[in-house]
């Protein structure tokens, strides 16, 4: 948790900020795990973090989990909201900053969904489907389904006729709702939020299977940077988010109760799934 950035108030240019380390703003990564298509949410989150940390905050978004994970592990991000799967995969290189609380717990489920018009109630009945995954590095949007199949000695490529990645949980719901995919693997939290915000999409889908409760996608930092003041400030800001009006506004948009500290073993179950899938090869 050594070095890292000094405080600096800087102009918005990314290139310039990278060029001047003491003035570099806090880089906070976001994965598409999230409702990151909501610009109002992003600016509120940025404003809250800047206010609480007293530093410029740069929100970094990439299309895939992999890119964010690579940036985080390589120390190019101060912290990032990643998925439990990459956290489990890079556990030695990462440390937990905070875990969101959803419905009072730092847990969520993965949903296996299918078109609402289909007469299916188990995953087995979805053999031969065109299946939509969210991201190859997503727990709920890939690993949970892959592990379910691995337990039955199946691979997604053999079980499904065709699979594709949408790089976004919301896109999985869109793909299934439109009929592009017959079934999909999606983050249960995102799905539940979409039930409120976009019921016309979720109404055209149905949940075939809910997974067991798993660790909610956490905010992590590179282990080397874990004790850096910037990371600590971010951690404080997150933990205290529910205490402040602007923070509560952000939480309201995220439909979350707050953030909490958690132990890495929260993600053991995910790590076990990962091991299972890897064993099958």
């Amino acid at each position: 948790m050594g070095a890292a950035g000094g405080l600096a108030v800087l102009h918005a240019s990314r290139a310039a900020s990278w060029a001047a380390p003491p003035a570099a703003p806090l880089a906070f990564g976001l994965t598409p795990v999230f409702l990151n298509n909501d610009l109002a949410l992003l600016s509120s989150l940025q404003a809250y973090l800047e206010k609480k940390t007293g530093r410029r905050v740069r929100l970094v978004q990439r299309r895939t989990y992999q890119e964010i994970t690579a940036l985080l592990v390589s120390g190019q991000l101060d912290a990032a909201w990643i998925c439990g799967y990459p956290f489990a995969a890079y556990r030695e290189h990462l440390s937990l900053v905070a875990v969101p609380l959803w419905r009072g717990r730092p847990l969520y489920q993965a949903y296996f969904i299918a078109g609402a018009d289909r007469d299916v109630s188990t995953i087995e009945e979805c053999r031969g489907d065109v299946h939509a995954f969210s991201d190859p590095d997503s727990n709920s949007g890939y690993l949970v389904t892959a592990a379910y199949l691995a337990e039955r000695h199946e691979r997604p490529s053999s079980f499904f006729r065709r699979t594709f990645f949408t790089y976004g949980h919301r896109n999985v719901v869109r793909a299934v709702a439109s009929g592009l995919a017959r079934s999909g693997s999606v983050d249960g939290y995102v799905y539940e939020v979409m039930r409120e915000t976009e019921p016309e999409l979720t109404r055209r889908t149905k949940i075939v299977r809910r997974s067991e409760w798993l660790g909610f996608p956490p905010i992590a930092a590179a282990r080397a940077k874990a004790d850096a003041p910037g990371v600590r400030h971010v951690q404080r800001a997150l933990i205290d988010m529910h205490r402040e009006a602007t923070g509560r506004q952000v939480l309201g948009m995220l439909r979350l109760d707050g953030f909490t500290l958690a132990e890495p073993r929260l993600f053991d179950a995910i790590a076990a799934k990962m091991a299972l899938v890897r064993r099958l090869g």
Partner: protein, 507 residues
């Protein structure tokens, strides 16, 4: 009478009615505007067809341009995803593109990969990823398969209100996939229909207005013809009259000239008729005079005897045998006078429509002509073979015969012979008047024998009696034949068809 009515009678009546409705019988005021309307409908149809064809071409050009723009934009964003077979991104591009292109109503877009399989469609439920394109969809472009490439192929299905478009996705000169789009063109079709309706309505109204205007214009133009026709029609009913001065068109116009010529003609005809009437009256008076003088002679002859008889009665009436003989003498004398007077009355008073000619009707003529033959010392051969009655109009026949007999008497020199024959077979009454005169001049002969209506009386010469004869014979549908009498003179034969209906009535 009891014979059934022949079938041709009632059948020909509807046929005649039908003829009245034949186009050739329509008035020019209807025909001309109708012809104009038909021509205008032809022009309207042609013009509308041209306008609609041009509109369809313009619409298709616009559609082609819009579609090309849409597909160009789409293909540039699709090619990288198609190369990677990224189903979601292809779908996402299609999904977002739907709301991006307001200019055209894209109903459906399908993206195929290089092997022709569906990569993603805007309607994935119908066109699932990884399946082959349904035959119905590929068949649309079957006929246009040769023109593949980056130029989009457009197939317009006006009935289905859709346009089908296909564009290949070409990357580095290689076809990596293709886009198929169905575009809703109901707006374009609706616009075409609106234009068609407007054209039809405008043309229809225009044609109607022109036809109505044409009707009134032509009615106005042919009004003088109608006026003239009305006047001519009236002349057929015997009431020919000039066109009133107020109705005359200006003298320099075609109709003005024509009308004035017509009025001049009417005036000439009127004058001729007046003259003919006057001459006829004079002739009538002349023949009356001749008759009267004959009758006076006829009455005068017995008068001397009658006065003698009265004298005998006055002085020797007490002797019975004298008285009786004298009274018989008086009776005979008065009876002769009575016969002459009765015959004259019959000839000149009988204007009725008596249609049954009796033997006595012809015998009356003998009495009437008797004084004239006596005065001119002519021999009258009288051969009346009519025994009972024949059905023929009495008045014109008797008048015609009287004229012929008087003419014959006039034409025959003293000591000559005038003969009369009357006979009838079942169909014709034959009346012959001959004389031993100098013969009938050729122009009278031609006039008497000519067919058809009499156009004008003979003005020259003194043949008015013949004119009357000719008119009377026409009246009874008779014919006149003129020949030479017994070696000399003239022999005039009247053939008068017997009226069968009337005959049957009598029978």
């Amino acid at each position: 009478m009891s014979a059934p009515a022949p079938r041709s009678g009632p059948a020909s009546a509807p046929a005649r009615r039908w003829e009245r409705w034949q186009p050739s019988a329509w008035p020019i005021t209807i025909k001309a505007p109708l012809m104009v309307a038909v021509f205008m409908i032809g022009v309207g149809v042609l013009a509308s067809h041209l306008v609609l064809t041009r509109l369809a071409e313009t619409q298709e050009r616009h559609l082609r341009a819009l579609t090309a723009a849409y597909l160009d934009g789409l293909s540039s964003s699709l090619i990288p995803h198609v190369l990677r077979e990224d189903v979601w991104e292809v779908f996402d591009v299609l999904d977002r593109a739907r709301s991006l292109y307001g200019g055209i109503a894209v109903r459906r877009t399908i993206v195929l990969n290089g092997t022709g399989q569906i990569l993603a469609a805007s309607d994935p439920a119908r066109f699932p990823t990884g399946t082959a394109l349904p035959a119905a969809q590929s068949a649309v472009f079957a006929a246009r398969a040769e023109s593949r490439g980056e130029e989009p192929v457009l197939v317009v299905d006006a009935n289905g209100r859709r346009a089908h478009v296909r564009r290949d996705l070409v990357h580095q000169g290689r076809k990596v996939g293709s886009i198929l789009a169905d575009i809703d063109i109901s707006d374009l079709i609706a616009e075409r229909n609106r234009v068609l309706a407007t054209l039809a309505l405008t043309n229809g109204a225009l044609i109607l207005a022109m036809a109505v205007a044409g009707y009134f214009a032509i009615r106005r133009i042919v009004r003088p013809v109608r006026t003239l026709a009305d006047h001519l029609e009236r002349s057929r009913q015997g009431r020919i009259g000039p066109i009133p001065r107020a109705a005359l068109p200006p003298p320099h116009s075609e109709f003005g000239h024509l009308f004035r010529r017509y009025n001049a003609l009417v005036q000439a005809v009127d004058e001729r008729e007046a003259l003919a009437r006057r001459l006829a009256e004079e002739e009538r008076l002349a023949s009356l005079g001749r008759l009267t003088s004959g009758m006076a002679h006829e009455i005068n002859n017995p008068l001397g005897g009658l006065f003698n008889a009265l004298y005998t009665l006055k002085h020797h009436g007490e002797k019975e045998h004298v008285r009786l003989a004298t009274i018989r003498l008086l009776e005979r004398g008065l009876g002769g006078i009575r016969d002459v007077v009765r015959a004259a009355l019959m000839a000149y008073r009988d204007k009725g429509q008596r249609r049954v000619l009796a033997r006595g009707d012809l015998e009356d003529l003998r009495v009437l002509i008797g004084p004239e033959t006596k005065r001119r010392r002519l021999t009258l051969k009288w051969n009346n073979a009519i025994s009972g009655q024949v059905s023929a109009p009495v008045a014109p026949i008797r008048q015609a015969l009287l004229n012929l007999l008087l003419n014959a008497c006039a034409a025959t020199p003293e000591g000559g012979t005038v003969s009369f024959e009357a006979s009838a077979n079942g169909e014709t009454l034959r009346l012959v008047v001959s004389d031993t005169g100098s013969g009938l001049p050729d122009r009278y002969r031609a006039f008497l024998e000519s067919e058809g209506p009499i156009t004008a009386p003979i003005v020259e010469g003194s043949g008015l009696g013949l004119w009357l004869v000719r008119r009377l014979v026409d009246e009874v549908n008779g014919q006149v034949a003129i020949g030479v009498g017994h070696g000399v003179g003239t022999r005039i034969t009247l053939s008068i068809p017997l009226d069968r209906e009337a005959l049957r009535d009598v029978a």
